[in-house]
């Protein structure tokens, strides 16, 4: 059905080596440039949304502000607290930044996704995909990276040997693992449609003629929006971005897990945070919005892949800034409630619903009948559960009342 990256199926020669090298350099440069852009964009847009000017001194529209800040970080004194566990303190920024980096390697950035081209481009007479690598378990690689990123936060807080960072990191870890569960479960819906775990295949199934000829064939629509919404919410929580930024709730925890970090070591956490925002947007675009696939108009067809990818990516970068500028921070109990009592049950139920629709469709049953029956079963189960919870709450109240009278 699907194939691995054709680049490696032939003989391994100089051309292949050059292509791999070029891919690494391009992906590296693209990622860094987009991260620098994102930092500026966030500050500028957030300023606009809250009726401020934002950076406007360094370069036109303050676009060089990020660079200026970066240079400043190099000239700041680096302080390792006496109580810190030195080796782990130094290790933590690596664990934060490198996973964010790795995720970008499985994101398809371009290519023409038609039935005959299959997203393959020819460079130096060799066929390849416009993505750094396409391991058959690409989606699991993304999830694995996000589970390693937890260590960066956890160890940074633990190794500081200080109260605020420790509290911040324990909170953050619990938050990140809770939402990672929801993240993983919502991806399953997409995997079911693609029948594969490779990110290239994900884009491939979303390319081409859409529903009714008007709507695109995105997983966003094909999976019924719910997994997308869950993924975006869980992804925002995974990034520790507002409204889920309890990790560094300034009023309570100073800077959270990176309170004790200074100079360039702090800058690395800062960089990792924005890099994660960019890669998370790229993941959302790949899994739910068809990545670089899209209609081509004029000029070479190859040009449109990166254009579609960049514009979809920009949409989500804008969304993340918008969320930050608009929403107040969650309370910790609300955060945990949302993760465990709403997102996980819904994503599990939705996954079962999609799987039954899928199987029923193959068996030739009527889709609407199956969907109706499934919704009915879900509704009955929900009502029974809600009834049980309400009854138990009433009984407990009753018992408490009686207890207080005695």
């Amino acid at each position: 059905m699907f194939a691995l990256d054709p680049l490696f199926s032939g003989t391994f020669d100089g051309a292949v080596f050059l292509i791999v090298l070029a891919k690494v350099v391009i992906a590296f440069a693209l990622l860094l440039v987009s991260v620098l852009f994102m930092i500026w964009f966030e500050r500028k847009l957030h300023a606009d949304m809250s009726n401020r000017l934002g950076p406007n001194r360094a370069g036109p529209f303050g676009i060089l502000q990020t660079l200026a800040d970066g240079i400043k970080f190099f000239f700041k004194e680096d302080l390792l607290p006496d109580r810190a566990d030195k080796r782990i303190f130094i290790l933590a920024p690596f664990l934060s930044l490198v996973p964010a980096f790795l995720v970008f390697s499985v994101i398809p950035l371009g290519g023409v996704f038609t039935a005959e081209k299959q997203g393959i481009v020819t460079v130096f007479g060799r066929e390849t995909y416009v993505q750094l690598a396409d391991p058959p378990i690409g989606v699991l690689l993304i999830l694995a990276c996000s589970s390693i990123a937890v260590y960066g936060v956890m160890l940074a807080g633990w190794s500081s040997g200080s109260k605020y960072p420790l509290l911040g990191s324990v909170r953050a870890t619990a938050q990140m693992v809770s939402y990672e569960a929801a993240l993983g479960l919502s991806v399953i819906a997409v995997v079911m449609l693609a029948g594969s775990l490779s990110t290239h295949d994900m884009v491939m199934v979303q390319a081409g003629e859409g529903f009714g000829g008007i709507l695109p064939r995105w997983n966003l629509i094909a999976t019924g929006v719910v997994p997308f919404v869950i993924f975006v919410i869980a992804g925002t929580a995974e990034l520790n971005r507002p409204p889920f930024d309890l990790v560094e709730a300034e009023q309570e925890l100073v800077g959270g897990f990176h309170t004790e970090y200074s100079s360039i070591r702090f800058a690395l956490f800062f960089l990792a945070e924005f890099m994660n925002t960019v890669t998370m947007s790229a993941i959302i675009v790949t899994l739910f919005l068809g990545g670089p696939a899209g209609p081509t108009f004029f000029g070479p067809a190859l040009m449109w892949g990166p254009i579609w990818f960049a514009s979809k990516l920009f949409l989500f970068l804008f969304m993340f800034v918008w969320l930050r500028a608009t929403l107040p921070r969650f309370r910790y109990d609300q955060l945990m409630d949302l993760g465990w009592k709403v997102l996980i049950p819904i994503s599990l139920g939705w996954m079962l619903l999609l799987a039954s629709l899928n199987v029923a469709g193959d068996a030739g049953w009527n889709t609407f009948v199956v969907a109706g029956a499934a919704v009915l079963i879900g509704l009955v189960a929900y009502l029974m559960l809600a009834g049980a919870i309400a009854t138990s709450a009433r009984r407990r109240e009753q018992a408490e009342l009686e207890g207080s009278i005695r």
């Binding site: 691995l4 378990i137 699991l140 390693i148 260590y151 633990w158 324990v170």
Partner: protein, 171 residues
């Protein structure tokens, strides 16, 4: 094949060193992190064996969940979180001897089973897999030969959770 062998011995070295440090480290959290290194290197060995799905599972479940659970468990106790000189058990020599015996038994079982025959790696995973990925192959065996263990896993996990909740709650 040469490159694969080089990587194999490199990773094996990392595994041995880290495993040794897990038991000799004076700091519980450091020991847990060395365990992460062991697990990560084992995951890399799985990739070398073309068992990518198992490798991803190793990272997701063991590194991403179980060691995090360990670390929360360590932070839960009143144990001093810095280095601790009396962490070494007085009967460590006995445990070391047991470990050596266990290693011998397991090594013997392996050698006895395979008689030093080398099973060649498939040159291309597409040859051994369904639909171009070996996760499908894993799935096929779960849903045929290992169906009962698969269902039992869910009950095991449920029991672990219920046990932890019963212990954690005072009433």
């Amino acid at each position: 094949m040469v490159a694969q062998n080089v990587f194999f011995y490199l990773l094996a070295g990392i595994i041995l060193f880290s495993a040794f440090r897990v038991v000799t480290s004076n700091n519980v959290v450091h020991a847990a992190l060395y365990l992460v290194a062991v697990l990560a290197a084992v995951a890399a060995e799985y990739v070398l064996l073309a068992a990518e799905f198992v490798a991803a599972t190793q990272v997701l479940v063991y590194i991403g969940a179980i060691i995090v659970l360990f670390l929360f468990g360590i932070m839960l106790t009143r144990a001093k979180l810095g280095s601790d000189q009396d962490l070494t058990h007085p009967h460590w020599a006995l445990s070391a001897a047991t470990a050596v015996v266990m290693f011998g038994v397991m090594g013997y079982a392996l050698v006895d089973q395979f008689h030093w025959t080398a099973t060649p790696l498939p040159a291309d995973t597409r040859l051994v897999s369904v639909d171009g990925s070996n996760s499908a192959t894993v799935s096929d065996s779960v849903f045929t030969a290992y169906l009962v263990p698969f269902e039992v896993v869910s009950v095991l996990l449920l029991a672990a959770l219920v046990g932890a909740i019963v212990l954690a709650r005072k009433d």
